[in-house]
Symmetry: D2
Subunit: 344 residues, 4 copies
Amino acid sequence: MNFASDNTAGISPEILAAIADANEGAAASYGADPITARLEAKLAEIFEHEVAVFPVATGTAANALALAAVTPPWGAVLCHPLAHITCDEANAPEFYTGGAKLVSVPGADGKLVADDLAALLPGDLGNVHHAQPAAVSLTQATECGTVYRPAEIAAIADVAHRHGLAVHMDGARFANAMVHLDASPAELTWRAGVDVLSLGATKNGALGAEAIVFFDVQRGRELAFRRKRAGHLFSKMRFLSAQLDAYVTNDLWRRNARHANAAATQLAGGLSVLPGVSLRHPVEANELFVEMPEAMIVGLFAAGGQFYRWQGAASTCVRLVTAWNTAASDVATFVDAASRLAAH
Amino acid sequence: MNFASDNTAGISPEILAAIADANEGAAASYGADPITARLEAKLAEIFEHEVAVFPVATGTAANALALAAVTPPWGAVLCHPLAHITCDEANAPEFYTGGAKLVSVPGADGKLVADDLAALLPGDLGNVHHAQPAAVSLTQATECGTVYRPAEIAAIADVAHRHGLAVHMDGARFANAMVHLDASPAELTWRAGVDVLSLGATKNGALGAEAIVFFDVQRGRELAFRRKRAGHLFSKMRFLSAQLDAYVTNDLWRRNARHANAAATQLAGGLSVLPGVSLRHPVEANELFVEMPEAMIVGLFAAGGQFYRWQGAASTCVRLVTAWNTAASDVATFVDAASRLAAH
Amino acid sequence: MNFASDNTAGISPEILAAIADANEGAAASYGADPITARLEAKLAEIFEHEVAVFPVATGTAANALALAAVTPPWGAVLCHPLAHITCDEANAPEFYTGGAKLVSVPGADGKLVADDLAALLPGDLGNVHHAQPAAVSLTQATECGTVYRPAEIAAIADVAHRHGLAVHMDGARFANAMVHLDASPAELTWRAGVDVLSLGATKNGALGAEAIVFFDVQRGRELAFRRKRAGHLFSKMRFLSAQLDAYVTNDLWRRNARHANAAATQLAGGLSVLPGVSLRHPVEANELFVEMPEAMIVGLFAAGGQFYRWQGAASTCVRLVTAWNTAASDVATFVDAASRLAAH
Amino acid sequence: MNFASDNTAGISPEILAAIADANEGAAASYGADPITARLEAKLAEIFEHEVAVFPVATGTAANALALAAVTPPWGAVLCHPLAHITCDEANAPEFYTGGAKLVSVPGADGKLVADDLAALLPGDLGNVHHAQPAAVSLTQATECGTVYRPAEIAAIADVAHRHGLAVHMDGARFANAMVHLDASPAELTWRAGVDVLSLGATKNGALGAEAIVFFDVQRGRELAFRRKRAGHLFSKMRFLSAQLDAYVTNDLWRRNARHANAAATQLAGGLSVLPGVSLRHPVEANELFVEMPEAMIVGLFAAGGQFYRWQGAASTCVRLVTAWNTAASDVATFVDAASRLAAH
């Protein structure tokens, strides 16, 4: 019953097989191999747009490099106060941008709201004493397990672009959002105004693979240099590209995400009806934030449940994360245990 | 006949199997898994010394993080002018250290010489106008395919330590050096005065795995923060650790390195006897630098040989690199082709 | 009627004279001159403590260098959301620290509150995913024109030190706070737990001179390197040191600050009794934040008043700043104009 | 007899008077004052070209900011191995550029040679593994006391521009070069292809004032942000601008430079005829590098001469620097002392 994180799950069999397949023979290094070339072509087709694609191995690298490409050192990135980039990356965006500032813009359910951004801008733009707003970063699905609708993204992007800011999407759980909305990759990105996407695969079945996807190819021109000087250019790049290639082939990303989302929905359904239990946010992806009685939390830990209290050791809100391979039996066992604890 | 680089070779079967084995079940993320714990213990045993181990995925990351741990932003790293850190990492050490300077100290066959360092130090130490020498970095095996003897390392380390400098070893081809000398890991590192080692596995059979190994555990205390903020902390760390674990298990690193070195020796033997052909450096690891007639270079390319001219499109020195899986038949075919071309 | 800022005022005559005096003959450069030596001795006496003193020319440099000395790149500086370091320095602290984060801790009247800090700490200390709280920075006098009492500073410092954080004081208006409290320099700094002080002189009569003052001399050991590599080491240092020396000689800093504070008090007294006018914060130094009717603001601008609306072009709160040389007649004229406008 | 450096000299009376004059009344801060506006207009006239001017207080700041404006973090700056930016700024260019590399290109008498640059370029341009040459920096007058002719600059700039590199001139002693050549400011800068100039005044009579001068105004667009976030934007900017304004008014810069150059010529003439004494470089500005017998060096120190041995405590080459106010009697006394020592 491991609901600690989707990154405690292993590698999807199709992706592991793709790594093994890619291991045939020698291949040009540093991305000059055919798998990497094929990946960029495939993503262009899937996203229905010219793209510049840069595979890296971690989500933090993808986010920090993407943000650095659109934010000068004296810039500011507007993001939700719960955003991974500001909470969980140990100042990686500050490092990669050369010292930019992350500015929090609160919003319900982990979402930025276009009107709130509009109220802030142009703000200090042009005033040399202040950090210059340069980018908006939104997380899809959000850190609260909710999902931005295309219209919400478009409204945010519209405000951003009107003031010259770029729009970055942290898509660590992009596929989970996509299947929830039954939207196309294009609808959730460039059609809604996203300029650069961190397309995550690691949490949804890869060993360690994320793609930085620029829809404005020119804007990504320098990324190759940034990636190399950060030590994120793999010599055996084919193995990153093979993961990503398998990920978007035969709908694997959608299948894995649907599995995880369904498990989350099943958990939510089973828990939310229990007395004293409530969901803090709508469950739209593969994360649940559940308020529950302290005794239930303690009991679930005792029953072997693996999960975290959300923001603090004394919190009675727990986070449950499902994965591409979460067993239905684990969900059922967990809900049963909670039910028994509720009945006490 | 791919002698372009050892990073064009794929994954050693034992390492691929280890990745698959590590894929069983869930595992705690970010290095809290049992494989990572086991790896550190195993390396401590192998190196016969307490160690702090930080797996990362690329050699550039390993070098840049290790150097940043021992060099302040106003510092200087003394290294050979051909060192990978100064030639081939696109300013990664400068990025990670926050702006330190790499100072070249020339030496024959890619090696730093203790006396040359001694002549430079203390130099500007303490003078606020100048970069402060903070570390010496040596590459084992060197960029010229030669190997430092333990006594050479010890002499360099002695000079460094006398002046308060740390000693870093870029061990991208550490195993190749080790088997050439038939020396123990300890003899080539802490016993000779090395403070921190970038232990490479990628070039010698891994998918992408290197270990930063601190022999002074205290000195590595901050590395965990540095690695995370650089985006080099893998969420599914077990798959990096599994590669490294397999790499040092059952002598795989030595077996792979012996294979590569033997192929290089075979190539050297076959080529060096040809008229107009000479070796620029002794062949002590898995790289050859071969002066040859222009017609031979052109002919070898035409015959399907893959390799690079060394430092410039007009150079008549070529670099040949062998790998853990270089086929003896490829070596033979290459030597034969060269022989025929020499006979013209 | 210039109340725009205390930095629109010129140089105090005593300080200009000191620059001229220092111009006699040649002097060793980069701080090896006798005036710089004398300054450090004098500040040690005034602060009743061993100090390491580093003169620089701007407040932003003083703050950013001081913070960099006590905060690693993966660190966080806790400060008030109105702090100059986070609002008005265009990411200088992020630049100098190599990418640390400034974390806002709100509090009434521009002040941090010890209990709020205690509630945050230890927080994420030790967790590699999060910025590591490394310093608390407080501004004396605050950005709201209020003043920390020694006991307030001591309570904050106590929390900070208990968790290993350093305490930095941005003393851009240190003298204004000192004379308001009639406290000694020691009482407001090291005796209350301050580790490093940015001692401002520019706003209070210097051409451009601030001293970074370390009470823990060891902690400042690297500052000389940091200052030089930032381009803040003056070759003709004697002229910075002469300004600071004159500033703390014959009580000039106190006299100038008393003058400015008195003018602020006079302004506050005259304005606060007018209908529709209120003070947003207590007036304890040389800044007033005054809510007033829009018509009064417009009228005062029309009458030649120079000042800023506070945080936004539509704001009906204005900031008035007095200086070491504010003319009593300007204050009277301004109050008279406001009175007439109030009477309409 | 202080020939230690031109920065041991004080402030030129005209410049000190200008500071005092600028002290009348209040003035808008941060460069919005009329003196700063006037300075930019005056420099445009003097340089016969549209310019963007950014006053700062130190030469290191001017150089590091200017280089950062034209060099990305993954870039390289080509410069002479003796250049101040690489030898004497404690990694400031690396800091300000975010980690660029300074690449030494040797040349006689402290000068870069166009053909040597041409041989290096395009070099690694476009190859992601290597630092990308982005700028050439030349020092006028050089660190050897020699002076680039306009044609030499133009040849260098031509190579640079052909490959997309910017041309920076470190003009710490620009006036000394200008008067030696009797050339116009335009001839030595934009007409010869210089894109950005660090125009020094400090060594030639200012308290501390340098101007970053962009001839391509667009290229300087971001400098205002860079300067502020580095803490180099003076609140009381008028006092920097007043120094620079006085410096270029009534030919002061030329008069001061002529005085210093003449003193150097006089020294060179007197010393070079002595037995055992020789000049290492032509004397074209205000610096001499003089090989002399050890006994003469010791004797001159004993006689009260202040100067440095050049590059090392054991060197028998000494550097003598004259200044805007070097007394003819000091030169005569020094030469006399040397003559007597030579006669022994």
